[in-house]
Amino acid sequence: MIILVDAAIYATILSILCVGLTLTYKITNVPNFAHTSFAILGMYMALIVTKIFDANPYLAIPMAFVVSGATSLFLYYFVLRILQKRTKSFLPLIVATLSFDIFMIGILNILADTITSEFQVISRDFTLRSHDILIFDMPAILILSLAATACLVLGLYYMLYKTKFGIKMRCSIENTSLAQIYCINTQRVFCVSWFLSGGLGGTAGVFLAVWFQGDPGLSVLLLPSVFAGSIVGGFTSIYGSIVGGLVIGFSEILVTDLLARNFGYWIVSYRPIIPFLFIITTLLLWPRGLSEIIKKVQERI
């Protein structure tokens, strides 16, 4: 039972991260290897709000959203946008996001150092779980992360299908030059999407801070799971990525548990391999992810 709750929290946080990654990939075709560093930035916002301003960690969400969103926008506007104009290959884009990630590691570490030296707050390997509150006898993180994912599903649906901006966004994704022909400022649409993606990352970061152990190095460790989630979801399907994130989150915890109980505990230390296995099998067998699997299953039936 406990492990199910744990897994649910992990999986929902992961799926929020996957949505952000998928969003920017779908819209601008950039697999953003720096995506999880936005989440770590959000984690530090939560640390600042909780330990320095002595407030509830969840109050950091707006700040995390804005700060991470702005960082993400910076990456797009000043780096990727320009790069996309100069080269058609995807590779410099990947390398650019990786470079940005290295740059962010420096920034995050400086931030952590500053927090420690100015406020004597432990800023590495910290966890804010003890600052979590209880809602209906359940940890708030469970309720809130589930609620956030649900809001994300509904909110994205509303935004994409019911608002003018959503239609503009879908048009820009499908055919950028045609969208421009119909007076859509596609550049603005892309910028908003990157901001949103970073903001979602930052929000997930606040949840991470309440459940995980925060450290500038966490970004690298988390990245494979987030990519696996997005890829299992199809990499271009926003709803797929939510499901993909849940699949990866639950499997990492429950499959490890199941395998270890049946084949021996040595398997536990191989856990980091799980997301990679998902990535490889999905892309090799069903490159379009879950939707393709579902379709194949339906055909069989």
Partner: protein, 333 residues
């Protein structure tokens, strides 16, 4: 008698440069010429190093009739072997030769393995799959102690045991430069031949090459195999240079990401560009490491982080202002 600092600096630079040049040339073959974004470069590099960590010590063990366990008594064993090799250098070269052939064969097999996704996928999807492939070697290496000593790693018998201790690394740098020169020569010959043109044609328009009756699947397999061989050689040389293999070190940053940056800096599909990119990058990195403590106190944060900011920043600047590299590919050659 210690060496002059500038000789040490240069020798170390040459060593790292030579190893990266070998790896970068193989990556350029795959990505620059054939258009296969091998984001799992570390796989073949690591495999080469792993062979170096496993095979020679076993061979010497049999040769010298040693009873120790190659991993549990690893240090003791390598020390004994090194003492013998100091007297019989020819044995060292013999075993080194055998190890190279085995490592290259393993690299070839891994290239064949990478060709499975390379034939089926394109672009960033392929890059991500290969990246996942590459991660495997480190995770398995850390967790399977019997391979290369798990988390601690193993030590490797020193080929140059007969060289006086203080000249050992200098000598090895010369040896590495020799290897790098050979690889450079071989790769240049290869890419200068009609095969090189065919590869570039395939990269630019695969269907056109297929229409000419060429089997692009086979071409890709062959390229990946050749590149795997070269990369494994690079990994093996690194392991013998440091006289040890630690699975932790074979991560995507050191052996996939940095090589990509170097060939992007230099220029794709251009061996001279790769040479230039490698030397510039390795030299800049060394100079940054060397001089950044001079800035201590001038910047408002810990000097350590400057390394990250500079590495990330320099790469971004190069990518943005020279997206085709310093020496872009020449058309129609």
């Amino acid at each position: 008698m210690m060496l002059e600092p500038w000789i040490i600096f240069l020798a170390d630079l040459v060593a790292i440069f030579s190893i990266y040049l070998i790896i970068n040339l193989s990556l350029n073959l795959e990505f620059g010429f054939a258009g296969i974004p091998n984001f799992g470069k570390v796989l073949a590099v690591g495999a080469g190093a792993f062979v170096m960590g496993m095979l020679p010590i076993g061979l010497y063990g049999v040769m010298f009739g040693m009873t120790q366990h190659s991993i549990h008594d690893n240090l003791e064993m390598t020390q004994l072997i090194n003492e013998r090799l100091a007297v019989h250098p020819e044995l060292g070269f013999l075993v080194f030769g055998i190890t190279i052939s085995v490592a290259m064969a393993v690299g070839m097999l891994l290239g064949l393995l990478s060709s499975y996704p390379a034939i089926r996928l394109r672009g960033d999807y392929l890059a991500i799959v290969l990246l996942a492939f590459g991660e495997m070697i480190r995770i398995v290496g850390i967790n399977q102690e019997e391979l290369v000593g798990g988390t601690l790693g193993v030590r490797v018998p020193d080929l140059l045991s007969f060289v006086p201790e203080e000249y050992r690394f200098l000598m090895f740098s010369v040896l590495l430069l020799g290897f790098a020169g050979m690889v450079y020569f071989a790769v240049s010959k290869f890419t200068g031949s009609p095969v090189g043109r065919l590869l570039r044609a395939m990269r630019d328009d695969e269907t056109a090459v297929q229409a000419l009756g060429r089997d692009t699947t086979k071409i890709k397999m062959k390229v990946l195999m050749v590149a795997g061989m070269i990369a494994a050689l690079g990994g093996l040389l690194y392991a013998s240079y440091v006289e040890g293999v630690v699975a932790f070190g074979y991560n995507r940053l050191n052996w996939t990401f940095l090589p990509f940056v170097m060939i992007l800096v230099g220029g794709l599909a251009n061996n001279k560009g790769v040479l230039v990119g490698t030397i510039i990058f390795v030299a800049i990195r060394k100079l940054v490491i060397y001089f950044n403590d001079g800035l201590d106190g001038l910047i408002p944060f810990d000097i350590i982080w400057l390394d990250y900011l500079l590495l990330g920043g320099i790469m971004l600047v190069v990518l943005m202002f020279r997206p085709k590299g310093l020496m872009p590919e020449k058309p129609n050659t």
